[in-house]
């Protein structure tokens, strides 16, 4: 990482606790780059995190950080932001933290349109606890609590956020790190609730049981399965199969999400 960004890290906490090849480190790097590019006053940035591998990101950032309780980061963050509106508040959550136990707080933060930026590290699994299914696990994936393959339908997170009222919704993958950095920066700048879904590969808890391969293969999968949204919308239906859109989605008040 560039030296100028090193001041954003708590040096004595490195190396971080994530597995070799975990995409969370790439997301962290994107976040740091975005904060740097925005040239925010560091004293006025507060990072609130949930519980899980994603939540550990807060411990590595050399800022005011709040490692709160599972699923409740957005509620803690709401208190921080309302009590001191001068603070820039970024909220880091995993997919289980944000959409399972935290689902209620997610839709209310979006409904209120409170100026928080939520970054959901979506590795489609509960990683820290060893690989249980989450509300963002693709159907038929193998999980330790679905050894025969998951039968539950997952959320479409950008649609959920938009439906609840989020004014800025973005999605990128760790492979598309430039886009990720840009979306995080734009989300922070957006004066209202912003949600960025960060698709990140978990080689250990998700990848192994789903035979998705090495960390590099995880990145290649992201390269091959995500298409920039405007291009995605122009694809014929049969070409959309197996692909997902990424980029900045139309805001809640804009044109409806395509099905």
């Amino acid at each position: 990482m560039q030296e100028v960004l090193e001041e954003y890290l708590r040096q004595d906490m490195m190396p971080h606790m994530w597995c070799a090849g975990c995409g969370n480190g790439i997301v962290l790097h994107s976040l740091i780059r975005a904060l740097h590019d925005l040239a925010l006053e560091k004293e006025k940035v507060v990072v609130v995190a949930g519980i899980g591998c994603a939540g550990r990101a807060a411990g590595y950032l050399n800022l005011d950080t709040l490692h709160s309780t599972h699923g409740r980061a957005l509620a803690f963050a709401t208190g921080v932001k309302l009590a001191n509106p001068d603070l820039t508040v970024v909220v880091l959550m995993g997919d289980g933290d944000a959409t399972a136990i935290g689902g209620n707080h997610l839709i209310h933060a979006a409904r209120r349109d409170i100026d928080l930026t939520a970054i959901v590290f979506n590795n489609s699994i509960y990683g820290m606890t060893g690989g249980q299914q989450s509300p963002l696990t693709p159907q038929k994936s193998i999980a330790t609590t679905a050894p025969g393959g998951t039968t539950q339908r997952p959320f479409d997170l950008p649609q959920l956020a938009r439906g609840a009222g989020a004014g800025f919704v973005g999605r990128s993958t760790t492979f598309h790190h430039q886009l990720m950095t840009r979306l995080i920066g734009d989300g922070i700048t957006h004066p209202g609730f912003a949600l960025v879904e960060a698709i990140t590969y978990c080689p250990t808890a998700f990848g192994r049981q789903n035979k998705m391969g090495s960390p590099v293969e995880g990145l290649r999968w992201q390269r091959d399965h995500f298409v920039e949204i405007n291009k995605f919308l122009s694809l014929p239906e049969e070409d959309k199969k197996g692909k997902e859109p990424m980029g900045q989605f139309h805001p809640a008040k804009g044109p409806a999400w395509p099905h």
């Binding site: 560091k42 005011d64 709040l66 709160s68 208190g79 309302l82 209620n104």
Partner: protein
């Protein structure tokens, strides 16, 4: 007539006193019989330059209170049994991360939904042990409206000086009764602020066991977590660090307990039968003891305003002087276990529970005093003192 005297409802006194103590953030959720507190806070917080927010549930309310407190604001929430149950995880977080905050629990009849409008004292043990793990708790229980005002201010002061969550334990009777309160002049109130740090590790305890954690936004780059953490606030798996932290959290509260063990007593100097009570039961118990004295019985009353940490010394000392202790509670016997524990068999301890969801009548307590009193006769000229709300 004191021109500063106002007729106030118990719940109203909570909000008025909280504002006088510097409340700047209230997050809550409607629940009977605490809703009045949120409604009054919704009016008074904007006037005081503070923030009111109705959150989506009690879990979020407690979370928001913690977030706000970490920015330096005095913060409070108010609820009743079912909501208090939901708040437990985050209360534990506040204890572990040493976040000053006040939680008002206006007890109603449980378990579960119970009867929303009926008084009870069924949350006493939950206040102590509702959240998992070894954690200290400070809990104050007023018995009248003026006491509510006074103890609310004290609750904020304790939360700030000890950096710990403080529970203000009301019951539906205290919350909804109306009594006169002499509102102290602004300058006359002692209001404490958390220690603001000159520097050094965020979670390094000073002499009294309390750290000076920097507020968010003040340049401290502080990490606040519910994980076991070292004096930098950063997570640690080291068992020695864990042991030291958990013990320090307890010691900082115990060490200061002598200064915040608030009790009142009536007729205990020569008492043979003592009643130990808290909350609205004190009102019925006081009348019962007065009536007992009129009948020539040497009865006395010890009111506990501090429930946790339990006033062990005061109750043990009482236990050595009287031959029986009656503990009337609006539950099936919760605090009485603590009384039994600290008197260590030196006196008979008699739990008394009445009809669920209803305050004792003085006669119910008097009858128990009579039943249990042997040949306890009053000394002529011992005099009577009327109950005076503090």
């Amino acid at each position: 007539m004191n021109e500063n005297a106002r007729l106030m409802q118990g719940n109203e006194a909570v909000v008025e006193a909280a504002c006088a103590a510097g409340l700047k953030f209230f997050a809550g959720y409607p629940i009977t019989p605490a809703t009045d507190i949120a409604e009054m806070a919704a009016v008074l917080m904007p006037k005081a330059g503070g923030v009111f927010v109705q959150m989506e549930d009690e879990i979020a309310s407690m979370a928001a209170v913690i977030g706000a407190s970490l920015t330096g604001a005095k913060a409070m929430t108010a609820t009743s049994g079912p909501g208090f149950s939901l708040m437990q995880e985050n209360i534990g977080f506040a204890a572990m991360a040493e976040v000053p905050c006040v939680i008002v629990d206006v007890q109603r009849l449980g378990p579960s939904t119970g009867i929303a409008t009926a008084p009870a004292q069924g949350d006493v043990m939950q206040v102590r042990w509702g959240t998992h793990g070894d954690h200290p708790v400070v809990a104050l229980a007023p018995a009248g409206v003026a006491e509510t005002y006074d103890l609310t201010v004290k609750a904020f002061n304790l939360a700030e000086s000890l950096r710990t969550p403080v529970v203000l334990l009301l019951d539906e009777v205290v919350a909804h009764m109306r009594e006169g309160v002499v509102v102290p002049d602004a300058g006359a109130l002692v209001v404490r602020e958390r220690r603001r740090p000159p520097g050094g590790p965020a979670y390094r305890a000073l002499g009294d066991g309390v750290p000076a954690v920097p507020d968010f936004g003040s340049g401290g780059a502080v990490h606040v977590t519910g994980l076991v953490h070292d004096e930098r606030g950063l997570p640690s798996n080291d068992r020695q660090v864990a042991d030291a932290l958990i013990r320090r959290l307890h010691d900082k509260v115990q060490r200061a307990a002598g200064e915040f063990t608030f009790t009142n007593s009536w007729f205990l100097e020569d008492a043979d039968v003592a009643v130990v009570a808290y909350g609205s039961v004190v009102r019925a118990a006081h009348r019962a003891v007065v009536l007992a004295r009129e009948k020539g019985l040497r009865a006395g009353l010890l009111q506990l305003q501090t429930i946790w940490p339990f006033p062990a010394a005061a109750v043990a000392s009482l236990g050595r002087r009287v031959s029986r202790v009656i503990v009337p509670e609006m539950n099936l016997g919760q605090l009485v276990g603590e009384v039994e524990r600290v008197v260590r068999g030196q006196t008979d301890v008699i739990p008394l529970s009445g009809l669920a969801g209803r305050l004792f009548t003085p006669d119910e307590i008097l009858n128990e005093i009579i039943r249990r009193g042997k040949s306890a006769r009053a000394v002529p000229g011992s005099g009577l003192r009327a109950y005076r709300g503090r």
